[in-house]
């Protein structure tokens, strides 16, 4: 949980909309990268793969739907690593490894703190400039 989040959002309102959007996207991407790095660390990896591609190495953070109020960060392997879904949720006869869920749950506290602190610093910096 981020302490003082409402104060943070209120102070953001003093900034131009385009700047608010940019700050949110930048900090969300940084936060999402924490989960992506953890997912890359714990995702299954086949070192005997012939083509040299590892799904674990293709983790991405894509930020979309950005407004001055928020944005959406999508985290997961690239299209080439589509098969990650089968190890994530498993099948009826194969247990899911839930590596993405575990990465999210184990890092989400750190992510919310990182985003909160990052936004705080960025707002302070921009306010000084205005």
């Amino acid at each position: 949980m981020i302490q003082g989040m409402q104060g943070l959002l209120d102070s953001m309102e003093a900034l131009p909309y385009s700047l608010q959007k940019n700050l949110i996207v930048r900090e969300l991407r940084k936060g999402g990268q924490v989960i992506a790095d953890e997912a890359a660390r714990i995702a299954p990896r086949d070192d005997n793969d012939d083509d040299g591609f590892h799904m674990a190495d293709s983790m991405m953070v894509v930020v979309s739907d950005q407004t001055f109020e928020g944005a959406v960060a999508k985290i997961g392997p690239s299209r080439k690593g589509y098969y990650g879904i089968f190890t994530e949720i498993g099948t009826i006869y194969v247990a899911g490894k839930h590596w993405l869920r575990r990465a999210f749950d184990s890092r989400i506290e750190e992510v919310t703190r990182t985003i909160g602190e990052g936004l705080g610093r960025a707002i302070e910096k921009e306010m000084k400039r205005l």
Binding site: I89, I92, Y93, G96, S106
Partner: protein
């Protein structure tokens, strides 16, 4: 009592869900040749509410993944709705030594269709619950 056992107890206590799947409520994987409909469930993570002075905090929230398999798309939706009604509740309940303070739905995903070893199609709907648990 583990959360897994508590989930089985909750399933059995709900007559609608229990009449649909009976004992076909499997942890992790289903047995070969499984009959549909069935639910395969997992508890992949359990995050404890940490506070100073409690090396093993009593409060935690666990993610429960329920994979609802049925022979048709309609039956899959009915099964997912029954599971949702059976488990999503804010009515606190004590099951064995566990206090379940509430279970909420976190996410719902269409899992598509899988082909079983019995050469039949299984339609899948995945439910992600968050269970708020207090150990006795």
């Amino acid at each position: 009592m583990s959360l897994n056992t508590a989930l089985v107890t909750m399933k059995t206590a709900n007559s609608t869900l229990n009449s649909l799947i009976s004992t076909r409520f499997h942890p992790n994987v289903a047995p070969q040749g499984v009959t549909l409909p069935c639910i395969v469930y997992d508890v992949p993570t359990r995050v404890r509410e940490k506070y100073f002075g409690a090396p093993v905090p009593r409060l935690s929230h666990a993610v429960v993944v329920m994979k609802c398999y049925a022979a048709t798309s309609v039956a899959r939706s009915a099964l997912a709705a029954a599971a949702l009604a059976a488990f999503a509740t804010y009515t606190p309940a004590t099951v064995g030594s566990l206090d379940i303070d509430g279970i909420e739905i976190d996410n719902e995903v269409d899992g598509g269709v899988e082909m079983l070893d019995t050469n039949t199609e299984a339609y899948l709907q995945i439910l992600y619950f968050k269970a708020h648990v207090k150990e006795g």
